[in-house]
Amino acid sequence: MSSFYGPLDPAPDAGYADPPPRKGFFTDTSVCIGCKACEVACKEWNAIPADGYNLLGQSYDNTGGLTANSWRAVEFIEQPLASGQRSAPFAGAPTGPSASATSAVLAARTGQDTGTEPGIEPAPDPTAAAPAAEPQFLGMPGIDLPGRIDDPDGVRRTDFRWLMMSNVCKHCTHAACLDVCPTGSLFRTEFGTVVVQEDICNGCGYCIPACPYGVIDRREEDGRAWKCTLCYDRLGAGQTPACAQACPTQSIQYGDLDELRVRAQERVDRLHEVGVGEARLYGHDPEDGVGGDGAFFLLLDEPEVYGLPPDPVVTTRDLPSMWKTAGVAAAGMVALVAAAFVRGPR
């Protein structure tokens, strides 16, 4: 078993003798109502500043993502897709092609001042957000909407679903942020979680590009990196993290990771039974690229739809080979210098 890759119980690996069972989050998006209690509870407990009063136009997501000032961030995805278990909500409604494509493009252009860096950037290419071409309306107001009646494809807005997910730090088994931290500010706790020690961090920023999930971020006025601590202080006192405690629908479940994984699998099985075939777990697998996440999810669509990487890998997996390559290059430098000076005339 490698310390850099594959299944691992991280706390003993990080030098804790007889640690408590590894703790984690299971975020079940199928019961998330998008209330954002998690965001607020987190901010209240951890004394996180507000990060700007910006309307983003991404459905009800005005947080925009995880930043140093938002350790939980609720995402909202409006989709003209079947939900798997419900009646088509708009069946029979006299509706037509949707303008959501346009909407998404506009939303994607919105940047946000989060008081952090890099914070939330506008999408580099907003058209990438568009699900489909903008519908062509003929601009003739009337009883029947333009483009509706002569719809050759018979495309009508019937199905619809609104996905919500509370994103959070994944507390990877193999955490790149922690691995690359030069000061030991980021460290593995006895609970197997990954925490920034605010008395140590010198704001070098290395953890930020190292994270395969784009979680950790730096607070501008403060200069240090911040992210979810899984409420390390509360855990130490035997308490539940603030977000999980607040969550009205138990979308965020906290507990021993092993037990959560079992519970999650049962939930997926149950959803499959009732026809929600698209339910799948994300980050639960100790065999994945980060050795499994301490905070994993039940999703109802592909991870990238939620802004999650579909197949993340801890960069440190390749570190040995990278050091090796660097060694070869370094040796090459010596050789070349030697050759340059030794050979030939002055």
């Binding site: 109502i33 998008g34 136009g57 919500m164």
Partner: protein, 870 residues
């Protein structure tokens, strides 16, 4: 429910996890819809048609829970011959007086009770005084004995009347009126009916936007009829649940700060109807009626004793004459119009922000600008305190600070952690809050404010010999003070007075049945008696939920008598046995000779199921052993309401006061009895059959966002909430966006004859056009949380509404109206005033013809039948 009451929604999710089907009916796809098994979009203002359609489905297919319906409701009761239905009269009931736009309910009475209607002399007055709100709670004052046909075949029995009344609410009609497809409607009907009956119950949950319609009371009535027909009342997992929106709005109705009520739903005396204590009491207990209102004398006397203590004696009718009298509409909207007219001089705002939260914000602000003085008690500098410097009317020049004489006192209030006291939550449960810290600076509780105001007023009048000052001088006002500052009145002492005690010994009463009408006991709110039973603050009980039964009776205290489900006698069959084991809740224990179960039985504890009163017996003893609805005069659930409602004994679909469509059901367009104030500052948009209704072609509705709280005074001021929804926006469907050239995230504004409100446009699939009566109707949705103060600011959606009220309870229609939506920002400054005035003029041209004919309006912010087979 997920939007506005997320934590309550956990129980819906719990039910869903156990297999319950969740149906959500709402004009817009919300967070609740996202979790529902079925989402049914419908047109705002069409709920009675929708629910009426289900009632019709139940009746046509005889799917009612017949045993329950026959035994526990007034389905079998015979109504007088003179009754004529909306079926016969083009959408009106018999007894309509077009002069006053009110009904004489004489012809709605039960057979043999005809004189009942005659008692209510002035029907217009009834409407003005929101008499129905009083009746709502002091029970339907009918005599206990009724003529019944338990075969339900008599043509004048309620069941048959109901059947005829709702016959035209067919699936086709539902589709026409509501825009709900017949398939979707059938799915709802089947789900609701198959999940109701002996083994299963279905819960109907609504948010109180339902009340904000010109026919709001009848919305809820329709739900009640349906739930009674299906046997879902008084049973676990059933019922109708109102999700109220303020921490103690239930408490402020029970111990009312309402013009027409006194604590415990006793009516404020009416100058005409209640000249004496006896008349006042009789109006409540209605001699001859069954049930617990028969003891109203004790309730009333105990209140008077609580107010005037030793000075209140049998000899002086317990100072009944000290009570001021009402004689008309003194509701908040009437009062605001009176302010505009200069009739009101002083105004207190107590944690309330009408400049943003009440309908027709402009009228609210103009009213405040015409006072002598205004006292605002709040945590924050709310818009109602700053109308004189930054209201929209400053911009338009309608309010000029240098010319506005209103003196304003902004008094900082203590927060919920800085004082102790009880809130009554939406299920009637009182919970005591402990004080955590002292209020900062000059912040004080309202208890402090009113106690000291009262003390100072008493001091100033101490030497007065004026008879009008006696009620103040004799008022008992001797609450102990303490706390760190030494001057905070004891909330617990007040709660003890509310609970009531024996005058001689000070022993707290345990139940309202201990109240005497001879002055030997006093109690400020009879329904709260028991909250201090045994001298213990029962509302402070905090036995962990997990350590007690699922009913959790030892957490807090619910009125009355700590009952958690009202009318729970109905959870057992007429013989006193549970309808089914699954749904066992309260039942008759033959061995012990008493009612028992999971909850406190809501029935005389030892009255057996077989008990039948002797003829002529009234009051509690008049209740038969199978009369579960113990606060109703006949002990039965009211499918048909012969007494107490202003706008008809049965719900009828009328269009909202402002509607883009003609009423497809009846010639009568809008509720004939709705309260309309025709004044220049209150123009209404034209509705069919008036002309030019295309000035305002769209339907709009408002509701809350999870991230904010009502008028925003407690959320725009909180940075962690303000950042989550930082800007005013409104939602339109892609189709409407195309029609009006609206672009996502660009500015747009919504206009009515009253106001123009701007915000960012959200183009979303969550709104859909509907096909109503052969045409497409678009709906616009707005949140109403913004104003000019706080961390985030924006226009107030409530400015868009005019003032039209439900005649029963005088609540405004602020969940539906018509509007236009335009791209770009609204005009500013004087141009805005001209813009609105222009719209108002255009609208005003059509008003003259329309006083009674058609007025329309309503719809639900959220109505959601949740089905819970657990």
């Amino acid at each position: 429910m997920a939007e506005a009451h997320p934590v309550g929604f956990q129980w819906v999710m719990e039910a869903k996890a156990r297999g319950a089907k969740v149906i959500h009916v709402d004009p817009r796809f919300t967070r609740t819809s996202a979790m529902a098994d079925q989402f049914v979009p419908l047109r705002a203002g069409s709920d009675i048609a929708f629910l009426g359609g289900i009632v019709n489905y139940v009746l046509q297919n005889e799917l009612d829970f017949r045993e329950y319906v026959v035994a526990y409701t007034n389905a079998a009761t015979i109504v007088t011959d003179g009754y004529r239905d909306t079926e016969d009269l083009g959408g009106l009931f018999s007894g309509f007086d077009p002069e006053t736009n009110t009904y004489d309910p004489e012809s709605w009475q039960y057979a043999g009770h005809e004189q009942n209607g005659a008692e209510r002399q002035d029907h217009a007055r009834q409407r003005e005084t929101a008499a129905a709100l009083q009746h709502e709670t002091h029970g339907m004052s009918v005599k206990g004995e009724t003529e019944r046909d338990e075969t339900l075949q008599h043509p004048n029995c309620v069941y048959q009347i109901l059947k005829r009344h709702f016959a035209r609410y067919t699936p086709e009609m539902v589709e026409t009126v509501c825009g709900v497809s017949q398939d979707a409607f059938a799915e709802v009907c089947q789900a609701w009916t198959t999940n109701s009956g002996r083994e299963r119950t279905t819960a109907l949950v609504y948010s109180v936007g339902w009340t904000q319609h010109s026919v709001g009371v009848q919305y809820i009535r329709t739900g009640a009829i349906l739930q009674l027909l299906l046997g879902n009342m008084g049973r676990p997992g059933g019922g109708i649940m109102a999700l109220r929106g303020h921490a103690s709005i239930q408490g402020s109705t029970d111990i009312p700060t309402l013009f027409n009520l006194l604590p415990g739903y006793l009516p404020m005396p009416d100058a005409e109807k209640h000249p004496s204590l006896e008349k006042w009491i009789d109006a409540v207990r209605h001699p001859g009626s069954k049930g617990f209102w028969a003891n109203a004398g004790a309730y009333g006397v105990n209140l008077l004793k609580a107010y005037w203590g030793a000075s209140a004696t049998v000899e002086n009718d317990f100072r009944y004459d000290y009570l001021p009298r009402i004689n008309g509409d003194h509701g908040t909207y009437r009062t605001v119009l009176d302010m505009i007219d200069g009739k009101v001089k002083g105004y207190f705002l107590l944690g309330q922000n009408p400049a943003v939260g009440s309908a027709h914000g402009r009228a609210q602000r103009l009213g405040m600008a015409n006072l002598d003085w205004l006292v605002v008690r709040d945590l924050f500098e709310i818009e109602s305190a700053t109308f004189w410097k930054n209201s929209p009317e400053i911009e338009t020049g309608e309010i000029v600070p240098e010319e506005c004489r209103t003196e304003v006192f902004l008094m900082p209030a203590a927060s919920h952690v800085e004082k102790e006291g009880t809130f009554t939550q939406t299920q009637r449960m009182l919970q005591w809050r402990e004080k955590a810290v002292e209020p900062p600076g000059d912040c004080r509780s309202d208890l402090w404010f009113f106690y000291h105001l009262g003390r100072m007023v008493k001091q100033r009048l101490a030497e007065s010999t004026d008879e009008r000052d006696r009620p103040i001088l004799d008022l008992t006002w001797d609450y102990p003070v303490g706390g760190e500052r030494g001057d905070e009145p004891s909330a617990e002492a007040v709660l003890k007075e509310i609970n009531g005690y024996e005058v001689a010994t000070g022993r707290p009463l345990s139940l309202f049945t201990e109240m005497k009408d001879d002055g030997s006991t006093l109690g400020g709110c009879w329904i709260y008696t028991g909250v201090f039973a045994d001298g213990v603050n029962q509302a402070a009980r905090r036995k962990p939920g997990r350590e007690q039964s699922w009913v959790a009776p030892e957490w807090g205290w619910a009125w009355p008598a700590n009952r958690r489900i009202l009318y729970n006698r109905a959870s057992a069959d007429p013989d006193g046995k549970p309808w089914s084991e699954r749904k066992a809740y309260v039942w008759w224990d033959q061995a012990k000779g008493e009612w028992t179960g999971e909850d406190i039985p809501d029935f005389p504890k030892t009255t057996p199921p077989s008990y039948r009163p002797d003829p002529g017996t009234s009051g509690v003893e008049g209740l038969a052993g199978d009369d579960p609805f113990i606060m109703q005069g006949d002990g039965k659930g009211s499918l048909f309401v012969p007494v107490g409602l202003i706008d008809g004994p049965l719900p009828t679909h009328y269009e909202p006061a402002e509607s883009p469509v003609r009423n497809p059901l009846y010639p009568q367009q809008a509720s004939p009895t709705r309260m309309v104030y025709r004044r220049p500052e209150n123009p209404l948009n034209p509705s069919p059959p008036e002309h030019d209704t295309d000035l305002f072609p769209y339907v709009f509705t408002t509701s809350r966002l999870t991230e904010h709280h009502t008028a925003g005074g407690m959320s725009r001021t909180v940075e962690h909430l303000a950042e989550l929804q930082p800007s005013m926006f409104f939602e339109v469907s892609p189709e409407l966006a195309a029609e009006r050239g609206l672009k996502h995230m660009k500015w747009g504004h919504v206009v009515t004859a009253r106001a123009a409100v701007e915000g960012r446009i959200f183009v979303t699939d969550r709104l859909t056009p509907l096909r109503i009566d052969g045409r497409i109707v678009h709906q616009v949705w707005l949140p109403y949380h913004w104003g000019s103060n706080g961390f985030v600011t924006g226009d107030s959606a409530n400015d868009l509404f005019g003032i039209v009220l439900d005649p029963n309870v005088l609540i405004q229609e602020s969940k539906v109206g018509t509007c236009d939506v335009r791209p770009g920002r609204r005009p500013t400054g004087r141009a805005l005033a001209e813009y609105i005035a222009g719209l108002g003029r255009a609208a005003g041209q059509h008003q003259a013809a329309s006083v009674t004919a058609p007025a329309p309006a309503t719809d639900p912010a959220a109505s959601k039948p949740d089905e819970e087979p657990t």
